[in-house]
Amino acid sequence: MRLQARQDYLKEAMSQFIDLENREVSVAALHDQELYELELERIFAKAWLMIGHETEIPDVGDYVVRLMGEDQVIVARAADGQVHVSLNVCPHRAMHVCLADSGNARVHKCIYHGWAFRPDGSFIGAPIEKEQMHGNIRTKAQLGLKKARVQLYGGLVFATWNHDGPSLDEWFGDMKFYYDMLFCRTDKGLEVLGPPQRLTIDANWKTAGEQSACDGFHTLTLHGSVIDIGAMGGEANTEHESAPAMYGINLSGNGHSLRCIAADTSWALAHGKGDLTPDQRLEAFPPPGITPELLPEVRRNMSAEQLHVLAKAPPVVGGMFPNMNILFIYSPLRDGTLGAALVLHSIMPKGPNHFEWTTYYFAEKGTPEHIKVMMRAAATHGTGTSGIIEQDDSDTWPHMTESAKGVIGRTETLKYQAILGENRPADWPDKAKVYEGFGKDDAQWEWWLAYHKLMTANA
């Protein structure tokens, strides 16, 4: 499609696909090649994308290869000690420069003609230097691997091709105040518990994308089996008994979102401690992933407002627009105690009908080793490939995408009409949009508004 034709298409498509007045999205948007091409350009080439964690590449020369949309990038620690993200495409003849998923290399040498690059992407030269096989039209400085803009946050590697766009802080907006409670709460920070799980799901990326924005409601039905076997459950004789983890505080800003849920509303192991003061609650239920020995660090690193949130109802699940899903959840450990699973998913599109679901597990670096091992097992048991919670999600998204293939099916809509409205409690920080109560569609609709905004922004 030519550029002008695309822009005309987009204008038409956005008004057809998204009904702003009635909060509906056309199912056709889940299976549309033209729309998909535009999403790659307007979302995946513009947004800040999470593509790994710096603890995966601790030493100079360490690298991992990751996806940004359908583009492969090399995430490497260069001689300057900094993390650099470079397109894994040789500027000479478009060969992939890195062929392994991870490793250590001071020089990345293309196997085709031998053009060589440093971990920061800069061009070293081509073989037989005196013959100057890169020609004399472009200088060596112009022949490096294409560089993405990089920002580390809590050790997470964020990258974007939008060199002139918002900073990562601006991208997060008010939500950074809450994200700090997950990613920037201890002195040493988080570390990965291994290389990520990767799998391909036969579904449009937006099925998992929009769900990450606080779709709590599906838990009751899709994940009913986890409630039925007694692993998950609200305290008896409360509103949580028949609806565990449903009541809480949802947060939204710039399409990013989090659900804040008190431990005793969702986990049997946390019952019977409802009468505690906020400070006692923080001791009784440290935020997921915080062991008692790390709690003093959290108290030191967080503001009074943040500590109040952590005591009342810590953020536990949610997303980062456009394609990251967060689960920092309480989870029973092998030894019978209430521990945690710290999980991030990235949802990378691979055509309109497929995406790669990448799953990272974390622990705070300061966690005792034997607890890290139990946290990793708990995360694997609950989430990702074989997770007894998430295996039901990965089976659902393909069905939604299949529905979009029928000429009648695609005329249906996804509906976001159960709305709480902003209703910030008096004791809650005045940050982001706040929805207290039974989790409804508010934050998910905000995800679509962020999508709409980026898709219709001037190119």
């Binding site: 990520p196 799980q197 990793r376 295996q391």
Partner: protein
Amino acid sequence: MSVTIATVNYTREDQRRDQVPYGSPVYNSIMGFLIHEARLLDHRDIKAWGELLAEDLEYKAPVRITRRVQQFDQEFGTMGHFDDDYNSMQVRITRLITTTNAWSEDPASRVRRFVSNATVWETDVPDEYEVSSYLLLTRNRAEADNYKQLSAERNDRLRMTKSGFKLARRSILLDQVVLGMPNFAIFL
């Protein structure tokens, strides 16, 4: 890279002693066990399969990584697609057989597990064997006209007990770095 690369050798070659001859009574009984458990799983008799698991079970499917051949011995990560013990496997089984809403396998996939290329070694423990076998698995789901496939090498520790062989350890070394099926709601 110690954070991400497994120091465990999942093939456990160090624990292998004399090879049990192909076609010998012990070899045949172990091959019979592998066929039997595949048959139980293919026919969704998950409860009976669960009874073949030893209480000290370790059940893992480490994440695989594409590496240069010089790092061929560092192909497997510390993270896995399964990272289970006996109790956590029983929770999985309970969920699948006692609830009416384990949707990832309801309606169930049609699965066939083809087990071959088994090699058996004696170990330092009498009545315990190291067993390496190939697994080819086909999974058909709903109205799909094709299959999700998976191939793997499994390295097991089998223990002969009064009630027959029990599986004490299974390390599933998958051939896919990026899995082609959306979940492991099935056992391997």
